[in-house]
């Protein structure tokens, strides 16, 4: 009986995490299109509901009622599994994101490794979808995407090492608490910029959206998908973007901490700061989508391997030697 109640309790907690995330994904799609429209002097979606807020819900409803088409020559099981994997992985990672010191589903010791592992698994949804479609454009898109995500993961991993050197713990709450006096965006500002650009590439956002470059590959790995399965890819993609924003705000912007520990700022509840930071990073994502042209593929690879990788490696050496010289290495948990 005890197991049963624990199970029910866990399911209740998981639902209270997942439903707000799905709703905020819907809202974030609206925000993205709205910002994109405003930059281009259009109005953007503004018809359905107040300010067009319900546009995404209307889109989702439309997708639900559309027919799901599975190509005759496709590998059916993998074809159906691919969007499910994308969506699940995008949601599963949220289990470790702390919205405040206590408001976290699972406060594990290796939180940042878990986040990194789940985000590196995200490539499977894309590569499986592209291969199982058994068609040329999806396959080209999948291969581009696999190469791109693997190369930018390397630099994200090394940037995480930079932050971990300063923290001395893999726990996400420890990472946030270590920034109580100084957000890491100030001492590690170059790493923040590199992380942000790598996050753009990791989530296949413009200017690195080559896997779905509509001028060359129709819609990349999603070409053969329709109806709800397409919608799942799409929701998973945006959930991943939100996840990257959350990761950026935990690693560099102090997570749920207020900017300064002074009176009017520190009575604002912690989750609000976290959400505000995630939204700020997402706003940057949206602006960049609107103002930057797409990279060429060889330039993308050059940027990942020849610029970001050596730069972040050198920065690891710099950070380590700085911490060692000034005797600032974290000693807390030994």
């Amino acid at each position: 009986m005890d197991y049963f109640y624990t199970l029910l309790n866990e399911i209740y907690k998981i639902l209270f995490l997942i439903v707000p995330i799905l709703v905020s994904v819907a809202m974030i799609v609206w925000l993205d299109r709205r910002v994109w429209g405003l930059v281009q002097k259009r109005r953007g979606p503004n018809v359905v509901g107040p300010f067009g807020l319900f546009q995404t819900l209307a889109d989702a409803l439309k997708y639900i009622f559309k027919e799901i088409i599975i190509p005759a020559s496709a590998n059916k099981i993998i074809f159906i599994l691919a969007p499910i994997i994308t969506m699940t992985l995008a949601l599963v990672a949220w289990a470790v994101i702390p919205l405040s010191e206590t408001l976290v589903l699972s406060n594990i010791n290796v939180g940042i490794l878990y986040l990194f592992a789940v985000s590196s698994l995200g490539v499977y949804g894309i590569i499986m979808g592209g291969w199982a479609s058994n068609s040329k454009y999806p396959f080209l898109g999948a291969i581009r995407s696999a190469a791109q995500m693997v190369s930018y993961e390397v630099s994200i991993g090394i940037i995480i090492i930079n932050v971990l050197l300063c923290v001395g713990s893999l726990n996400l709450n420890d990472i946030v608490l270590a920034q109580k006096n100084l957000w890491y965006v100030i001492p590690l500002f170059p790493m923040f910029v590199v992380f942000f650009i790598s996050a753009l590439a990791e989530t296949n956002r413009p200017p690195f959206d080559l896997p779905e470059a509509e001028a060359e590959l129709v819609a990349g790995y999603q070409t053969e998908y329709s109806g709800m399965m397409y919608a799942m890819f799409w929701l998973g993609e945006y959930a991943n973007i939100l996840l990257m924003c959350a990761m950026g705000s935990i690693l560099f912007l102090g997570g749920w901490l207020p900017p300064l520990d002074i009176y009017p700022l520190n009575i604002v509840p912690a989750p609000i700061w976290m959400i505000f930071k995630i939204l700020f990073l997402f706003f940057l994502f949206a602006i960049i989508k609107a103002i930057v042209p797409r990279y060429r593929y060889d330039q993308l690879m050059r940027l990942g391997w020849k610029v970001f990788l050596p730069f972040s490696l050198i920065y690891v050496v710099l950070t380590a030697s700085f911490l060692l010289y000034f005797d600032k290495l974290p000693k807390g948990s030994f």
Partner: protein, 209 residues
Amino acid sequence: MLAHAIFFYFFSILAIFSALMVITSRSTVNSVFFLILDFISVGCLFIMVGAEFLGMILLIVYVGAVAVLFLFVVMMLNVAQQKQSWFIGQKSTHIPSGLIVSVLIFLELLVVIGGWKYKENVMTSSNLVIDTNITNTHSIGSVMYTDYILYFQLSGIILLLSMVGAIILTYRKRENVKTQSYFKQISREKSSAVMLKEVDFNKGVNVDD
């Protein structure tokens, strides 16, 4: 404990099943997918033992990077053609070498497990005192970078060597390949790039000189 047992048997059965499917499934892509499933379930077993660091590293390195590249290569193979040469064509030459390798691995396992069985502390590391107060990330770090630093560095150098070797083996210099030189592009000046020419009527101009 019940839930623990259920999860343990679930993941271990999954691991054994997917390991069997890796070698029995006909399609190479499917066997790579089963290999990935195997890695994931072994990672989950690691986490259940309490070695969360090892489990996560297994996921990141093997599933997140190695298996992706595996899949990448296998998807490029022409499946139909390969089936023909494998099943209908001449006898495969892989079987003897495969047998030798697998017998060697089996013997190694026998030595390791048998040694463990008959002599208590066959491994020096089992003499180490385990402090339950520190996380296993810290304990791995404190052993790896002090007692075993030489082996750690050596394994790194071996990996680097194999990488350099692979690059040298596959690298070939190709003629007539146009590459973009950013330095050249940026350092172009107006004086060397643009010129003004008087063009005679009905004669045209030769640009190449």
